[in-house]
């Protein structure tokens, strides 16, 4: 179940470098100037004229050389179309450049139909990475990508070696630093992750590294070194909003931990001025507490392209097909990460697609064999698919590796196994024990989830008291609502509406129309709950 996931923190995301390089975190530079770049128009015209006179592949290559200048791409596209129309001989590389100019990029086939333990898309990408590394092994960014696949394949030592090599090749690389820190988090070496960033010479001048240091300090259960400096940087607007986004988000996290929701909102306001996908996902995670309006264009634009944020939103609105789609995309972006697989395995358990869920859980356990949540989901999936002995084996593994937090989940899954064997009394007893343990801990949402799963098990095993158990689950849902329980009960044909924000949203900014001067200005700042988007000043 997804509710058993550890709380989400604003730790650096580890995507493929091809995606990261287009984001501000990769291209941030203290220098903010752009150098003008333009190629010689006369030489370009001459090159085209030469090609028209002698249309060899050599002359075409000379014309394509000008594609470096994006302003010439339209004219190059005209030449390219002409060459294709006349069926002139062109090389494969020329074809690749032409396709890129004509915006006919090859689309990689979607992997949505693939639920094997080994991911063929990963295999293809690894093979390409190997080729690239063969050309130049001293390649920090390619090593970061290679490490991601190594960690997905459970080769943790190799992954660490690749990351350390990347960092030694580029000791000041922000990407290498953040990625290595993320790796340490994955390996539960939180102190090392924090130490790496807190002691690095680049961190004090880099808002992205400061943000990670602050977020990692929380996980490492230590004080952040750069919280005050980060606050000063935000107050003084020491960088563009896009570069301050994660820093403000991390500082908001501190405020939330300290229970200062008002200050957290204010920090999120800065973080959401020009957010990245990580910050949006964090804001959505805390949306019930923050109650801020995330429907403005700046946030919506990012959220639409952020798989994690889309998964969370779809999950909240009980849109399971969209949740599946986005979680698969999220898994493809971060194949080593357990979180997307948590969502997917939970979803497939609820949808009775047990084989898909089992394979994906195995896939996730290769990357992290000690992931308690995945072990719990796997044993639940196995029990549902009738592989009861195997389910018990994984439950034992869960007991060995997990912290005591997972005891009620172990009890509940054992209850399911008992009910599958027809021992309803034993099953009832185990579920009751799990429910009472959640209640005694004050985890009301987990209690609701547990009851929902109990109802699902009762319905599917034709429990004599299934109607009663279902009613209890519905009552519990009425008292403490959770998305997981909503999705399960919805699948059991119960009348469940998506959970709505109880408190009206606060806006991050308002438009002020001054009728006297006939001007429209945007005022940034957290408004009162339910404030209008436009204020007319008379």
């Amino acid at each position: 179940m997804t509710a058993s996931l550890p709380p989400r923190r604003l730790i650096p995301r580890w995507r493929r470098t091809a995606s990261t390089l287009d984001l501000p975190e990769a291209s941030f530079s203290a220098e903010a100037s752009v150098r003008v770049f333009a190629l010689d128009q006369d030489l370009f015209a001459k090159s085209i004229a030469d090609w028209r006179e002698t249309p060899t592949a050599g002359h075409l290559g000379d014309v394509l050389a000008f594609s470096v200048d994006s302003s010439l791409r339209e004219d190059i596209a005209t030449v390219a179309r002409e060459a294709l129309k006349k069926s002139q001989p062109i090389t494969l590389a020329q074809q690749a450049i032409i396709s890129s100019i004509l915006d006919e990029r090859e689309t990689t086939p979607q992997e949505q139909g693939n639920f094997g333990i080994c991911n063929p898309a990963t295999r293809r990408e690894v093979s390409e990475l190997r080729r690239v590394l063969k050309v130049n092994p001293s390649n920090p960014l390619v090593l970061l990508d290679a490490a991601q696949f190594q960690i997905s394949a459970g080769k943790h030592r190799q992954a660490e070696r690749s990351l350390l090599t990347a960092l030694s090749l580029s000791p000041n690389s922000r990407l290498a630093l953040r990625t290595l820190a993320r790796f340490y988090v994955h390996m539960r070496r939180h102190d090392e992750a924090h130490r790496l960033l807190s002691r690095h010479a680049r961190t004090p001048g880099d808002p992205w590294l400061m943000a990670s240091e602050i977020a990692l300090a929380e996980i490492a259960e230590t004080s952040p070194h750069f919280a005050s400096k980060g606050q000063r940087l935000i107050r003084d607007k020491g960088a563009q909003y896009a570069d301050l986004s994660e820093l403000a988000g991390a500082l908001a996290g501190i405020e939330l931990v300290n229970g200062n929701v008002k200050r957290a909102r204010d920090m999120f306001r800065v973080a959401l001025r020009s957010p990245n996908d990580n910050v949006i996902a964090q804001a959505i995670t805390h949306q019930r507490l923050l109650a801020i309006d995330l429907n403005q264009p700046e946030q919506r634009r990012v959220a639409l392209n952020a798989s994690e944020a889309q998964t969370l939103l779809a999950w909240e609105t009980l849109n399971t097909s969209q949740a599946e789609l986005h979680a698969l995309a999220w898994h493809s972006e971060e194949p080593f990460s357990s979180r997307p697989l948590q969502f997917l395995t939970t979803l497939y358990a609820v949808q009775k697609k047990y084989e898909h869920g089992i394979n994906l859980a195995h896939r996730g356990l290769i990357a992290d064999p000690k992931d308690s949540a995945l072990l719990a989901n796997l044993s639940y999936l196995l029990a549902n698919s009738g592989k009861l002995e195997l389910a018990e084996t994984f439950l034992r593994r869960l007991v060995r590796t997990a912290i005591t937090d997972y005891d009620p989940i172990v009890l509940a899954t054992s209850g399911l196994i008992a009910m599958k064997r027809g021992a309803y009394d034993v099953g009832d007893e185990l579920y009751q024990e799990a429910i009472s343990r959640f209640r005694s801990r004050g985890e009301l949402k987990m209690e609701t989830n547990c009851l929902a799963y109990y109802a699902k098990s009762a319905v599917e095993t034709a429990h004599p008291n299934r109607d009663l158990i279902l009613k209890r689950a519905m009552d519990a849902y009425g008292n403490a609502r959770s998305s997981d329980a909503a999705i399960i009960l919805y699948q059991l044909d119960q009348q469940i509406e998506p959970m709505e924000q109880t408190e009206p949203a606060r806006r991050l900014s308002q438009w002020i129309l001054d009728e006297k001067t006939n001007t429209l200005t945007q005022r940034h700042g957290i408004t009162k709950a339910g404030a209008p988007s436009l204020i007319v000043k008379k």
């Binding site: 060899t56 200048d69 690749a96 130049n136 990407l175």
Partner: protein, 357 residues
């Protein structure tokens, strides 16, 4: 742009004092403007053919800032002429030769000294590399390697005498007729944008005197090094590597490189200097471009050697570009490359003959 009629436009049919009969004028292309001041012709003398560049300095008078234009024109012509003579005097076999240089007044202009034009007569050869890179003719891989070897040798000859070419591109690689050692060879032409070590020239302070289309990537981002090797010879090494990529893929390195670079790091978009994070991005793009578009086109038997050569030559970091061992001694090591390329081209030619037999 100057549109004035000049004696330099009317040389067809004229015979120079050196015996060159000026024939057909090169077709004036849409892109040719008066900014380049020269008019180009074919010329013959007995069995020999040549390329004549006629310059009319008066054209400078029609430019807005004529003093600067005139100064530029005269200094560029003198620079190129001196350099060509320097190359000839040092027996640089793979540099296009300056055959003659003379002034001329057309008969119709009488003895009007103000209408004097300057003619530079160059070796013409059989056209540039672009014309000979014709897929319908399926150029052999050994031929491509010989071209590369010739250009590497040309650069080595220049570098040994403290000259950096800085404008190596397919249109400046000329196929010439018979040389002593074999039937045809490539020569490097257009030294007009070169710089010399220890001699001040018109392009010493320019960020990039050559064609920016082919320039090494550091120049897109405005990087200049104070070290001769890193700034000049290293740039020539990149141009040689880019030519290797062109010979095997049909596209120069820069086009492939930019195609693999994330938008945020492209020239004209990236807000930053030529720093480590940019070098990392370019290094990744370089390796991807070579792995995806060049590797499969290389001759199988010499693939690894050629991959290493191309990767070293096109290294986006100018201070690491070039032969690894030579770099340890503070040099670029073009000499090592032309020797290696000669060996590889002969090996590949032997294999091709064996396959054909």
């Amino acid at each position: 742009m100057s549109t004035v009629s000049s004696p330099a436009d009317k040389l067809e049919g004229v015979t120079l004092a050196s015996g060159w009969e000026i024939q057909k004028r090169f077709v004036k292309q849409a892109g040719e403007t008066g900014g380049h001041f020269g008019v180009c012709y074919f010329a013959i003398r007995g069995d020999e053919t040549a390329f004549v560049k006629a310059l009319d300095f008066r054209r400078a008078f029609h430019e807005a800032d004529f003093i600067t234009a005139l100064n530029q024109l005269t200094s560029h012509v003198l620079w190129e002429k001196e350099l060509m003579e320097f190359c000839r005097s040092h027996g640089m076999s793979r540099i296009v030769r300056l055959l003659d240089y003379e002034d001329l007044i057309l008969p119709e202009d009488g003895n009007d000294q103000t209408k004097k034009i300057c003619c530079l007569v160059f070796e013409v050869g059989k056209g540039d590399l672009r014309r000979h890179f014709d897929l319908t003719q399926a150029p052999k891989k050994s031929w491509r390697l010989r071209v590369l070897r010739d250009v590497a040798l040309a650069l080595d000859q220049l570098h040994r005498r403290g000259v950096a070419h800085l404008d190596v591109k397919p249109s400046n690689v000329i196929l010439v007729g018979e040389l002593a050692d074999r039937h045809e060879a490539m020569k490097l032409g257009d030294l007009g944008r070169s710089v010399r070590k220890g001699r001040s020239g018109p392009f010493d302070t320019a960020l990039w005197p050559g064609d920016l289309t082919y320039a090494p990537p550091e120049k897109w981002y405005g990087y200049q090094s104070a070290q001769w090797n890193d700034e000049r010879e290293s740039a020539d090494a990149y141009l040689l590597g880019s030519l290797a990529v062109y010979l095997f893929s049909g596209v120069p390195m820069n086009a492939l490189l930019v195609n693999e670079v994330a938008d945020a790091f492209r020239p004209g978009i990236y807000r930053g200097n030529f720093d480590d994070q940019l070098i990392d991005v370019l290094t990744q793009a370089q390796a991807k471009a070579i792995a995806l578009h060049v590797e499969d086109q290389l001759p199988v038997s010499s693939k690894d050697e050629l991959l290493a050569i191309i990767t070293e030559l096109t290294n986006p970091n100018p201070s690491k570009r070039g032969n690894r061992l030579a770099r340890a001694q503070g040099m670029i090591g073009i000499d090592r490359y032309h020797q290696k390329l000669l060996r590889i081209s002969e090996r590949v030619a032997l294999e091709e003959r064996r396959v054909n037999a």
